[in-house]
């Protein structure tokens, strides 16, 4: 065993990259669930985003436009979910699961002619001064732009939910949609907005896998990341800052266990492989999970 081979700086740096897809997708789902809607279609929206990201970036030659296309793809898919669950009042769990299956198939179809296509390079930022800081510069300030977009979004969502009136209204809709409706808030409209924000975020998360981490299109390439994002929302108690912790913890232990394997740690590989899941659950449970939004997953109709 040679633990000295593990460079902690590089480990922390790759942690930020490995966590970004889950962070983005989970953040979107957090807002959706805070508005009282359970969308189990995260995986489907992620994979569609991954496919759309490849398509848009290869066609335009610009990675940022790829991400915009991915957000749009995820958003359109979530719009479908919103129409089905908010207007046609279908069951959210069943519709969400169907959305995942639909997304997997749709992305396979969309990506068919893009197999093996390589997206344009997505440059890492070189921030003057900050990137040159010893230690911290190497860990935190030499990543690509999406890593920071993810972090800024966490802050923005946190601020929105806890410090703004609009955020309060969104939470009210999620806690008790009948009361919010009685107060005159447009429950369905607010939920439409939240669902579409969630779809766009999931799309971005998927595109981060296909444009930055891999970078290539392969069918089913998100490989369950959407489900992990869903779980992290619950274990983070529907709180944005804990969600950041959860996502970084999961990404961190994932990267760490690969490093430990490579360093030849004398622990059976099976335990290392399950460690990211165990560690994330244990830590977030110890932090005491929050309470689910009161109207989560319930169908709302103004007449009831």
């Amino acid at each position: 065993m040679d633990l000295s081979a593990i460079n902690p700086l590089l480990l922390l740096a790759s942690l930020m990259v490995a966590s970004t897809p889950i962070l983005l997708a989970a953040l979107g789902e957090l807002v959706v669930e805070r508005a009282g809607v359970l969308n189990l279609g995260v995986e489907g929206m992620m994979i569609t985003g991954a496919a759309c990201g490849i398509i848009f970036s290869t066609l335009t030659g610009n990675a940022w436009l790829g991400f915009a296309g991915a957000a749009l793809g995820g958003l359109l898919l979530s719009f479908l979910f919103a129409v089905l669950t908010q207007i046609l009042l279908s069951n959210q769990v069943a519709t969400g699961l169907a959305l995942t299956l639909f997304g997997l198939g749709l992305s396979a179809l969309l990506g068919q002619s893009f197999a093996g296509a390589r997206p344009p390079a997505f440059p890492k930022l070189d921030i003057p001064v900050l990137s040159d800081l010893p230690v911290l510069g190497q860990i935190a300030f030499r990543h690509d732009g999406m890593v920071y977009v993810g972090l800024l979004l966490v802050l923005a969502v946190w601020y929105f939910l806890t410090r703004t009136r609009a955020g309060l209204v969104l939470r009210a809709v999620g806690e008790n949609h009948d009361a919010a409706h009685a107060l005159g808030y447009p429950v369905v409209l607010i939920r439409f907005g939240a669902i579409m924000f969630g779809g766009a975020c999931a799309g971005l998360g998927g595109a981060y896998i296909s444009l930055v981490r891999v970078p290539q299109w392969t069918e089913g390439m998100t490989a369950g990341a959407g489900w992990i994002a869903l779980a992290i929302v619950v274990f983070a108690g529907w709180k944005p800052l804990r969600l950041l912790l959860g996502a970084y913890l999961f990404g961190g232990v994932t990267v760490l266990q690969l490093n430990l394997q490579a360093a030849g740690l004398a622990i059976p590989v099976e335990y290392l492989s399950m460690s990211p899941y165990v560690a994330t659950i244990v830590v977030l449970v110890i932090l005491a999970a929050g309470r689910a939004p009161g109207s989560l997953g319930k169908t709302f109709h103004a007449s009831r």
Binding site: L11, P21, G116, E219, G220
Partner: protein
């Protein structure tokens, strides 16, 4: 006509149609089924099986009809797919991943008239053959190249699922890397999947960060190549497919699976009625394992040495597992000059001496 007679006639006709359907299926082109574990455009394992299947279709033209199913999960779900193919009238079905072994054997017992061919497994039956390629021969060539090309003396290996085939590959590569470079060490990461681009990318990243400058993979996507390309001075090898889009660097060579001749053979055997359950295991010499062009990033003398190894394996003059070799714990595996027989190779579940870590059980 009385109403009752009409009903009777109708029922008879329907019955005849029902039993007639499978009989009629025998008249048309012969149906050949393929069950794939991944999508047919994965760039690696499944793509090459499909490519070989298409070559086979081209060879036979209208005589056969190809039925295939992509991305079938390994496990009980595969039985459903296989049963479906049997009911559709397939006469020969190829299942192309290790994890389809038990489903194949189970379904084969229910349909004794359908022939099955399972890739990389070891369970046979009267109507189940197994076939595989001696990938370890290609691994030996890769190991030799890796031993020469590494400057840090650290070689990374992204391993997939802990089955003998994968362990054999690691051992073959390691033995030949050590042969040319006594200081070389292997860092092995198991990801427990055949295809998961994000995980493969992370694994490659972790290996590169720990100083590996050659990365071998037994997983199916090109993600490790992309990671190596970004890192700069890291060499990789194509797996299952040539992956030439990453040549000449990072990809310096590859193992290419060529199943087409075997597929053509076996379909022909069913047509001729000469099909028998066999256990086929072919290597470089028979053309089932191809070594992709060694790229210009490799010095000429190293390239020549690797090609000489390839040719001597192909000619049957040299076996990659030739003693003296010890197991990891120091006990003897092969005595001086002894060559491993297929029985030993098929069940290989241990590392050879010098590799650190444990084989996951």
């Amino acid at each position: 006509m009385k109403r009752r007679t009409l009903l009777k006639t109708g029922a008879t006709a329907a019955f005849a149609a029902a039993i007639g359907a499978p009989l009629r299926a025998q008249d048309g082109p012969m149906k050949v089924g393929f069950v794939y574990v991944g999508p047919i455009n994965d760039g690696g394992w499944t793509q090459h099986h499909h490519h070989s299947a298409m070559e086979m279709v081209e060879h036979f033209g209208d005589q056969i009809e190809l039925v295939y199913q992509e991305s079938v999960p390994e496990g009980p779900d595969a039985e459903r797919v296989l049963t479906q193919m049997c009911l559709q009238g397939c006469s020969l079905i190829f299942t192309t991943s290790f994890g389809f072994m038990d489903p194949t054997v189970n379904v084969a017992a229910k349909f004794p008239d359908v022939m099955f061919e399972h890739a990389t497994g070891y369970k046979t039956a009267d109507n189940v053959s197994v076939y595989s390629a001696r990938f370890y021969e290609g691994r030996a060539v890769q190991g030799k190249l890796a031993g020469h090309m590494t400057r840090s003396n650290r070689v990374g290996y992204i391993a997939s699922v802990p089955i003998p085939e994968v362990v054999r590959g690691i051992n073959a590569a390691f033995i030949h890397a050590r042969e040319v470079n006594p200081d070389v060490e292997f860092k092995i990461i198991w990801i427990f999947e055949w295809l998961n681009p994000a995980k493969e990318a992370d694994a490659a990243q972790a290996l590169i960060e720990q100083g590996c400058d050659v990365v071998l993979q037994h997983t199916d996507s090109t993600a490790p190549h992309a990671a190596a390309q970004e890192a700069g001075d890291v060499y990789t090898f194509g797996q299952a497919a040539d992956m030439a889009e990453f040549a000449p660097k990072p990809r310096i060579s590859s193992i290419i699976d060529n199943w087409a001749p075997y597929y053509i053979d076996r379909v022909q055997a069913v047509m001729d009625g000469t099909w028998e359950s066999v256990n086929t295991w072919q290597g470089i010499g028979d053309g089932m394992v191809g070594i992709g062009e060694i790229s210009t990033a490799v010095p000429d003398d190293v390239k020549a040495e690797a090609e000489a190894l390839r040719d001597s394996i192909a000619a049957g003059e040299y076996h990659p597992f030739t003693g003296p070799l010890n197991k990891q714990d120091g006990t003897q595996f092969l005595a001086e000059g002894e060559v491993a027989d297929d029985g030993l190779l098929v069940g290989m579940n241990f590392y050879v001496e010098g590799i650190e870590g444990e084989v996951p059980s």
